[in-house]
Symmetry: C2
Subunit: 339 residues, 2 copies
């Protein structure tokens, strides 16, 4: 937008969602000023995007309802970008474009919205993606918890990329790219409902460099970013999809002291806490060393944490004390609204 | 999903959003059973989509917060499909794929959710689109008004399609493909807060056939589906983007008697009521007759309703009584949560 009138409103009202003047000003002055790029045309219903001739189109989508909206290491805006970029990255794609849906609660402070949009814009710049289309809805006070976001990511990958749980075989190894549970623990602390305060930061970040490092390794079968439900849930999904048993070696799983302490204090299992900047990868047994080396060039704390074998499709944990325990699937929600 | 366990829960709980067993069952038993198609893989983070070699990729996105969730002529699910398909259609594209974000309120009746998902699935089948990716979030009771949806649509159009407000010239004519305001009026009545009951149905439907009919006409400049803010808001957007004056002939604008009566009773201006199955098109003056004929093959009540001319970038209404009045831009929200 050419003109730079200062946006005067301090709080969101229903009229910011009605398609009229106030909505136009909100979009121009708050969203477009932060997200401007040559493809973003707020006058258009849809946008045409270029497709590299030698690449395959890959698409993903995610919703975000995290509370609080701001937490150490990010906010709902940067989290939406990282979450979306990461789903493309673990599919072997390089992310290019994002569409953005914003649900706003009447009464929301514009200053907070600006910080969220700025966080989103900064994360998008860091990840090399641009917002190419968007929509904003305003709902009455009490019908939304401040801000919800929904993003769709569009990226491209080489034709013939075969990654997926259907590629996984007995004997394959499981790697994790860094300490688990940081995002879940940081958001939990940021809620302050436990009366705990810490230095913990969310690990929310792009995993594109990690994923691209793994893509160079022959024998890469599958990648996933262990968000909601954490590493434990990815392990269960692997067992269910492959019919294989999953063994995780507890002592090998990287975890920071802070996350470990918080979990012990509050009775959470870090295996089920969300990460937002890690990859779980499955590789052929003979590729495990190469994959770990490749991963460590960009993720020094990456580790080999388990393997898939014959036997019942369960998840078994070899405990640090030399015992074994079955890891049950997550039933109750230990921590809602984590992403 | 292969197994067909009956989904036993009757209401949404927070655990349906936690990434564990209950979320998996909700997705498999409620969403996948209705939306199943070969591209929808709930185990994958992202999906690869085929691109026709001779077409341009076109993307759009929209959020939906309509209240009530069900109304005569549709529900929030079918509305999301029609709204998304229509944004692609007016861009000259044929819609192919949709991504779906669902925000659910704790306590929502599963039976209602099923009706919404069924409405969405039926509309998708009618429109020839498939849901290729999705995400579900559950928020605590009171933090959402039942269901919000966000969809991104992906379609393809011929290379070199030049449609847009930047194509519009002085002298161009404005067409509408049918009676205006039906969606806005129907949703308003469905709220029952006015104590009025009527036969009125939303016009929510795909405009793809209308758009494709117009695409055959040389001299087509611009199309839009006049949703939030209605025809009046599209007229203002045209004036602002082109710097031209917009004249609308009130007597030529198609409107049903029911919508007219409701508006007179309640003091609404039908020009600002949402349509969800209409197109506003701008065509070169010499193409107006051909465009109207083409449009009427699929939209019998299509009409020529105005033109763009030199003069101040305002919207002027030639009234049915031979007078003129300036049509102001929408300020307050006459009817929030209409889409």
């Amino acid at each position: 937008m050419a003109h730079r009138i200062e946006f005067r409103d301090t709080h969101i009202s229903l009229a910011h969602g009605n398609g009229g003047r106030m909505m136009r000003e909100l979009i121009e002055q708050v969203f477009v000023t932060a997200l401007a790029n040559p493809r973003l045309d707020t006058h258009a219903d849809a946008v045409a995007l270029p497709i590299p001739a030698d690449r395959e189109l890959v698409v993903t989508t995610d919703g975000f309802t995290v509370q609080p909206l701001e937490f150490p290491g990010g906010n709902i805006g940067s989290l939406a970008v990282h979450g979306t970029v990461n789903d493309l990255a673990v599919s072997g794609a390089v992310p290019h474009f994002i569409t953005l849906n914003v649900f706003l609660e009447e009464g929301l402070e514009i200053a907070l919205l600006r910080r969220v949009v700025d966080g989103l814009a900064a994360a998008a710049r860091d990840c090399g993606v641009v917002v190419v289309a968007g929509d904003t809805k305003v709902v009455p006070r009490g019908d939304c918890d401040g801000i919800y976001l929904a993003t769709t990511g569009i990226g491209f990958r080489p034709h013939g990329t075969h990654l997926g749980m259907d590629q996984v075989r007995a004997g394959d190894r499981i790697l994790v790219s860094g300490p688990i549970g940081d995002h879940g623990a940081a958001v939990m602390l940021a809620r302050q409902e436990f009366g705990l305060y810490g230095e913990l930061r969310s690990d929310a970040a792009s995993v594109l460099a990690q994923a691209q490092a793994l893509m160079t390794v022959a024998g890469l079968r599958f990648m996933r970013d262990p968000t909601r439900g954490g590493l434990g849930t990815v392990a269960h999904e692997l067992a269910r999809a492959t019919g294989l048993g999953v063994r995780l070696a507890e002592a090998s799983i990287p975890i920071t002291d802070s996350v470990q302490s918080i979990c012990e204090l509050l009775g959470f299992d870090p295996l089920f806490l969300a990460c937002e900047g890690r990859i779980v990868a499955v590789v052929a047994p003979e590729a495990a060393d190469a994959a770990l080396s490749a991963l460590r060039t960009v993720a020094p704390r990456a580790a080999l944490v388990g393997e898939l074998g014959a036997g019942a499709p369960q998840v078994v944990l070899d405990t640090a004390f030399g015992g074994q325990r079955a890891l049950d699937e997550l039933e109750d929600d230990p921590l809602p609204r984590i992403c």
